[in-house]
Amino acid sequence: MSPRVRTVVLFAGLAGLAALYLCALHGLPGFGHYRGPYGDVINAAGVAERHVTDMVTAVNFDYRALDTLGEEFILFVSAAGVAVVLRRGREERERETAGGGEEDADEARGRRPPRTSDAVRMVSLLMVAPVVLLGIYIAAHGQLSPGGGFQGGVILATALLLVYLAGSYRRMRRIGPVTLVELAEALGAGGFVLVGLAGVLSGAAFLADVLPLGTTGTLLSGGTITLISALIGLEVGASVVLIATEFLEQALEIRGAERHR
């Protein structure tokens, strides 16, 4: 196919796409006019049925919790995949840890990484505690207000990365050792499945609510919704920390074999 023919085919296709796109746009409901019945049904029944005030959380962690389970395992498998791909190769070796100072040494000999400025260290240090608080708040209030385990988990993970910015990679590893992070990740992922199986054991469907629903509007309302949200927070936070740790280890700790031949 000559370039000229190719261009003609491209623009014919684009014109067709544009026509269909405009046609579809014309058929859309007006801006802000929701048509489907499903959202209205959830909005009408959700508070009474599940004792939660955030319907998005109710859908994510109860009505369509099975979808969330699948999504959670996408993240779980991704973190495991990163850990496998970035594992220490046979020719690579870790920087000698004996007498390892607080400073992160560069792998290139005789060159230190650029020093983190005092301003960055200071601001990061000041932000650690508020970020932890915000993360816990967002993760714990998913059943009441926007947020939930997923968002809270990522925020909590960034708190640990602030420790890296304010201090050093080694200090970050000391606060969140890989074993502990992996344990938290497994606990979050496995706990979700166990909560689902508890529903089966109680004689109902998988992921059916087995806990008391509590008073609407209080922190401990929502039954398994709140529990699953907390487990998701654990899993997501640990996954993000694990992925970041693997990358940081690659960037800071591993000496490539090729430079030491």
Binding site: F31, G32, D54, V56, T57, D106, E107, A108, I138, P146, G147, G148, F150, Q151, V154, I155, T158, L161, V240, I243, A244, F247, L248, Q250, A251, G256
Partner: protein, 79 residues
């Protein structure tokens, strides 16, 4: 549509274009972060605060972080 929604939509289009136009990976990662922020403002403006929070933590924090960490690794290997 309210004025806030209009402004947010225009900003998303603008920052999205800037992401595509920035050719330097590190700079592009920062622009992606800004894009996540603007996108979450748009979601908030159209009354989807849950999605806004997700977009904020993933688009503005997690994704740029992964890109920057990968860049750090790649640069060290190239030296």
């Amino acid at each position: 549509m309210t004025a806030v929604q209009d402004v947010a939509l225009v900003l998303v289009a603008l920052v999205g274009t800037l992401v595509v136009l920035s050719r330097q990976p590190a700079r592009q990662a920062v622009m992606v972060s800004l894009y996540g922020l603007v996108l979450s403002v748009l979601f908030f403006a159209v009354a989807a605060p849950d999605v806004a929070l997700s977009s904020l933590v993933v688009g503005a924090v997690a994704l740029p972080l992964m890109i920057l960490l990968t860049l750090a690794k790649v640069r060290r290997s190239e030296e």
